[in-house]
Amino acid sequence: MGEIARILRTHLFHGVAVGLVVASLSFVVVNLTRGDTALEIAIARHGTALTNEALVEQIRIEEKLDQSLWIQYTRWIGHAFTFDLGRSLVSKEKVADLLWYHFRHTLVLSVAAMLISLVIALPWGIFCGIFPGGSFDNISGLVSSALVAVPHFVTGILLILALSIKLQWLPVAGFFTSRHLILPAATLGIGLAAFSSRVVATAIVDVRGALFYQFARMKGLAEARVLLGHGIKNASIPVITFIGLQTAHLLDGVVVVETLFAWPGIGKLILDSILARDIPVVQGAGLLIGLMYVAVNASVDLICIVLDPCRRDPEAIR
């Protein structure tokens, strides 16, 4: 499969390029932030009461913050390429370990959110696609526009109010049992579902209008057979491409949702690290998210290649 190798090669190249850009940008952004980094670290480590000038100077030398930015930058890039992300300035833990711990939680949350969104969006979108322009489809369009427009923190707070505080079905926040996963995952999943259901509906309308779909009916196949055999696979190609793009939306959402629900994922790690001026962690997390995008794009391309035979051999398309 030459095409698969080509895709992997392209995305590997993208990964390196994105890594370099993201590593540089996160370094620049962190260093553009106003205030004395050494002072902030001293406060984060020892508290405001114990922080004095001698301590701040000691930290500045220990963490090599007194060196020129250029030297700090080359050191960071060099280490990043050997996957040595350094240690947290605050907790002194290895950044790679911190990232892995939080990344696992984000992964669980994202996958759960994605599953919830698919469980809602697929039947919803397919139904709208089969009866386009009907009253259900029209109302769905309104509802999904409204849901897309509502920010995550509003959805989240409403869900907490309704399901945790009023009905007391689910815990408000934390990450101890799988029940803790439901609210944050639903908060993200509902927003995603609103968008995906429209994409699914459009894909179904398109495929049902295709000549081959009409022809499958003419062959005498039952309507369900036509949808299963000739509709779903063809409609899933644009849907999967879109879901890949949506993962970007998801990574935006996790910062808010993880903070709201005290979910120890990568989004919460970034926010906490930014507040604590934990430069290596912020930079490492930025890099990880950048590489995540590349990985998601690569997976989408690979899935589409499996689904769509045309893409396996692009030169054969006239």
Binding site: L211, R217, M218, K219, R225, K233, P309, I317
Partner: protein, 286 residues
Amino acid sequence: MNEILLNINNLSISSMPEHKTLVGSVSFSVRRGEPFTLIGETGCGKTLIAQALTGVLAKDLSATGSIEFDGPNLVGLSGKERRKLWGRRMFLLPQEPRLALNPTMRVIKQVSEVLRYLRGQQPKNALKNAGTLISDLGMSSSRDGRHYPFRLSGGMNQRILLAIALATPAEFIVADEPTKGLDADLRDSAVRLLQNLVEQGKTLLCITHDLAVARDLGGNIAVMYGGYIVESGPAEKVLDSPVHPYTQGLIKASPENGMEPIPEHVLSSMKTAWNSSGSRQMEACL
């Protein structure tokens, strides 16, 4: 068994809000197991007849008259009742083979699913029999059959459509412009494939603008112009000694005969005749 499979009587097709007649009062009948060719220029209404016949007429068009298919009248049949005929009793071969085939399904599967779901064959047998149908049409079932439509040429995709037509239990096949966009060699082989359909016992209604196709298929033909049948009869008779001036013009206009344009006075005289008979449909063609 009834010898006439299809009997079309005074079939008119008009566009709905404007009540503009597109096909006016067409009558012909097709005998079981024989080919019938409807011939005419683009826009003369022959495809509309095929659509009315198979029940895929656009929503804003309406048909009146009768289409008796093995007895019952199809005009006014509900979509559901139409659907029961598709693939089982009648089958429409579409104009564009590549677009008619599912781009993400191997072509052999597109043949075998018909055997599987309409003839109740086991998946394995269906696949094997589909392979036989494909190789009978001069393709390799193991190589070409495993391809997706985009890897096959237009002619090969058309053979796959014919294999599907043969796989269905449908006895009546409507072929809409089966030679459209094909060069002379491919056209000849397409005609042979259609003849093959007839040899296998199917009744064929072929819709074409190509006189050579009509001649090679034989059987009866009807020449259409402007939504009306101007002349009909056995192919040989109509094509060798045409009576109607339009048919004479059409034959002279074919590439073999020097592509002489149909004389303007022939067309205008027909237009006057029909206008006086109260039809306003000629604009569709002119």
